[in-house]
Amino acid sequence: MSNNVIEIHNLTKRFKQFSLENVSLDIKQGFITGLIGANGAGKSTLIRLAMGMAVPAAGEVRIFGQSIKEQEADIKERIGFVADDSHFYEHLTIRTMKGIYAPFYKNWDETLFKRNLERFELSPKTKIKSLSKGMKMKFSLALALSHKADLLIMDEPTAGLDPVFRRELLDILADLMLDERKSILFSTHITTDLDRVADYIAFLHKGKLVFNESKEQIFDRYAMIRGDNELLDADVRKLFVGIKETAVGFEALTNNRSAVEALLSGHAHIERPTLEDIMFLTAKGAATHV
């Protein structure tokens, strides 16, 4: 029913420290997809590969149905990109920097940009080097939102933002999503931002895709179990993705909620996990089940 705005197919990229192996991933149009994973899991690499800024050892990326290798200029007209370190010319002013950026885009909307600057409380005369990290990100966002982009790609945008603006950012994104033709890909290791607002979550762990599902599906399947250590037997352990045992009890993650409910209902506390729980315990589980 819904189209894919990004199609990643068998992407492989090898570095000394780690590699992305055969990662395939589709990002649906009209939704906010959160890309989560620990630092070093491969999120930024994946995004750079998707943008054509890195060259894969194998695999291909299609955005808006076009190959990023062949039509990267046409594709990027329609992408607004925001990174946590946007690499502007430090010695120039906001106005001058905008003067460099804007002519590249056919759909640049100057009125919209001015409104965005006001909304983010930025002055055109300020030099880039005197902007805080958060203000740089806001400027980057103001630029990205001012050329009618159909896809917003954000690489760790909230690291370095105060909680007040983080909330405002999520509001801005939700506003964008009122238009069902727009899509957002949002990579972060701060999962609390996505707990509420994301539609789909793709979880990358050590260069591999653990899942890419709607939040509804994820929270139907995954559950946090807290209970006494006596409950832990071989059958129960098999259902756990990761577990944290202490002297006073255990805390575990399962991706088979119904099976666990059948076994432990009434004996252990079963509840909805946060994305952070899922990330943490999946990593823990993978570490022990080597």
Partner: protein
């Protein structure tokens, strides 16, 4: 691609003032050993190339350019075409220096077509050698590359300076040089462009 070239000029605009000052100073100071158009055309072109590279290195601009709607081909081509614009700037500076010499200082500043062609030729050859190395070694070795390239420059200038001396000494025919040199330089730049492009296409963009 025009926008790519334009961005470098905008980022460099204060440096251009420096280049102007430099040109006027060395262009009017006749005591300086190499008192010739080479100083006003070639060296500024080289300086501006290195300035642009240095600004890009400091700001990690490549990571910004990579998000813009441009193809890798345009990124590489813009660098090569910029050389011609730098040479045009040098030409303007030369005119200014000539006027300053003629009407303010009242000393002669000889300009021959041959010297213009040689100056441009050196700058073009330099760029043809510099760019592939810059693309190959990438951002991390950029400082070393800039350093080496200054020596490259001095070598080229003395080499061609020697050839020019020999030419006047032995009365070599000028016309073949005046046509041959630019043609050779352009062919060299084109080959260099192809090489740079194939190197760049295979690399990750780095800040």
């Amino acid at each position: 691609m025009y926008n790519l070239i334009r961005k470098d000029f905008i980022a460099m605009r204060w440096y251009l003032l420096f280049v102007l000052g430099y040109a006027v100073f060395f262009g009017t100071f006749s005591g300086f050993p190499v008192f010739s158009p080479i100083m006003i055309i070639t060296l500024p072109a080289v300086m501006m190339t290195l300035f642009a590279a240095n600004i890009e290195l400091r700001n990690k601009t490549m990571m910004f350019v990579g998000t813009l709607p441009v193809r890798r081909k345009q990124i590489v081509l813009a660098k090569y075409i910029s050389i011609f614009l730098y040479l045009a700037v040098g030409l303007i500076l030369l005119v200014i220096v000539h006027l300053v010499n003629e009407y303010i200082i009242h000393q002669s500043f000889p300009i021959t077509v041959l010297s213009l062609i040689v100056s441009a030729g050196i700058a073009m050859t330099y760029s043809a050698l510099y760019f592939p190395i810059q693309f190959l070694l990438g951002v991390k070795s950029s400082n070393i590359v800039s350093f080496i390239s200054i020596f490259l420059m001095i070598f080229l200038i003395s080499l061609i300076g020697n050839v020019a001396d020999k030419a006047t000494e032995f009365n070599w025919p000028i016309l073949p040089i005046m046509i041959g040199l630019p043609v050779a330089a352009i062919i060299l730049m084109y080959l260099s462009y192809r090489l740079s492009l194939s190197i760049f296409r295979r690399k990750d963009m780095e800040g």
